[in-house]
Structures are given as structure tokens and as C-alpha cells.
């Protein structure tokens, strides 16, 4: 294994781990829930991404095989992470609206009303229609 490859692997591993840590650190230090929600997407994307690419190269270098598995893990995480974030945000919005939580030091404050006639879906059930998914039909 060439020094350069090794260095690249080490770099990717460290980079990934660093982003993972930073994401979690953000979870600790950011001031309110919505800000903290940015942490995991960080960890997911570049953190795990770098780690996985590092791992891919690592196995190629060590065992001489290209493993595509890491890419697959990336794909799954990229598909699922936004959904988690979206749902958690909804929880936050919902609890904020119902008064279950009070966040005086939230920076962004309460979410603004959307421009149209209807409120956000979390506060108002979407009418049956294409945007509201087939499930309601």
C-alpha cells in the first residue's frame, strides 16, 4: 500500500470522525432544539460519508477488493436522514404550538405563517389531493 493511499485513508477516517464529533458537539452546545437538529445531518453526510469512502479504499488497499457496500450505506442514510430531521422538526413545531415547550432563547423564534391561505401541514391537515398523498384518498 502506497504511503499516499494510506495517508488518504487516514485523512478520510479522521475527517469523517471529526465531522461526526462536531455534529454531536453541536448537539451539545447549540442553543435550542431547531439549531441542534442540524447536528445529525452533518454527522450523516460528510462524517459517515468520509468514513465510508475511507473504508472503501481501505478494503481495496488491504484486501484488494472493491467493496461497494459502503456506498449502499450512504444511499440509505441519504434517503432516511432528511425524513428523521423533518419529523423531528414537526415534533418541535407541534410542541411549540401546543405550548408543551417554551423556548425564550430560540433565535429563529416561532415559524412564520406560509404565504398562502393554508397553515403548515403540522398545524392544519392537508386537503386530499396530490400533495397530500394518496393515503388520504
Amino acid at each position: 500500500m502506497s504511503m499516499a493511499v494510506e495517508a488518504l485513508i487516514a485523512l478520510l477516517i479522521l475527517l469523517g470522525a471529526a465531522f461526526v464529533l462536531i455534529g454531536s458537539w453541536g448537539l451539545v452546545r447549540l442553543p435550542s432544539t431547531m439549531e441542534r437538529l442540524h447536528g445529525p445531518t452533518k454527522a450523516t453526510t460528510l462524517g459517515l460519508g468520509a468514513l465510508l469512502i475511507g473504508s472503501m479504499i481501505f478494503f481495496q488497499a488491504r484486501l484488494g477488493v472493491w467493496t461497494a457496500h459502503e456506498l449502499l450505506i450512504c444511499v440509505f442514510l441519504f434517503i432516511t436522514a432528511p425524513i428523521s430531521a423533518n419529523m423531528i422538526a414537526k415534533v418541535h413545531l407541534h410542541r411549540l404550538r401546543t405550548g408543551a415547550i417554551v423556548e425564550p432563547n430560540s433565535i429563529a423564534g416561532d415559524p412564520p405563517h406560509p404565504g398562502g391561505e393554508d397553515d403548515w401541514a403540522t398545524f392544519e391537515a392537508p386537503p386530499p389531493g396530490p400533495a397530500a398523498t394518496a393515503a388520504d384518498r
Binding site: V20, A43, G47, L77, V91
Partner: protein
């Protein structure tokens, strides 16, 4: 070099876990705790990948894959529970 990097990475991810744990216990909002758990799952995947590299084995791939695929299900379920009570309607 890689060995050192792996050890450092382990340390970093472990610290990340500690951070998650702190947020998990601290809250204060339910959302915070769910975020903490969700992040923990992602960090766990990182750990699995690191373990695989240390052991130079592919044996843990399925576990990481599965965690990536179904780990978010409980997060969603928790959220749906808070939002709707009934997670299946």
C-alpha cells in the same frame, strides 16, 4: 498511520457518543432527546464501520446496512407518537 487514525477516530466517535448521551439525558425538549437518539444511531454506524476496519473484516457490513435502513424507523415512530399518538392510523 491508519492504525493511529483509527484510534483517534474511535476516540472522536466515542466522545460524540458521550455528547449524545448528555443531550439525551438533559433534554429539555422531547425533540432534543429524539435528535440525540437519532444521532446516536448514526454514530453507532460509524463505530461499526471502524470496527470493521480494525478487524479487517466485512462481517459487520450487514449490521451497518440494517442500522442505516431501519434505524430511522424508531425515530419516525417516536415523532409520530408525539405528533399523533397513534403511530399507525
Amino acid at each position: 498511520m491508519i492504525g493511529t487514525a483509527l484510534h483517534l477516530a474511535f476516540a472522536a466517535v466515542s466522545l460524540a457518543l458521550l455528547c449524545n448521551c448528555w443531550r439525551l439525558m438533559r433534554g429539555p425538549a422531547l425533540g432534543d432527546r429524539i435528535v440525540a437518539l437519532d444521532t446516536m444511531v448514526i454514530n453507532a454506524i460509524a463505530i461499526i464501520i471502524l470496527i470493521g476496519m480494525i478487524g479487517e473484516t466485512n462481517a459487520y457490513f450487514e449490521a451497518a446496512l440494517l442500522m442505516a435502513m431501519v434505524g430511522f424507523v424508531s425515530t419516525i415512530a417516536y415523532c409520530k407518537f408525539v405528533l399523533r399518538g397513534d403511530i399507525v392510523e
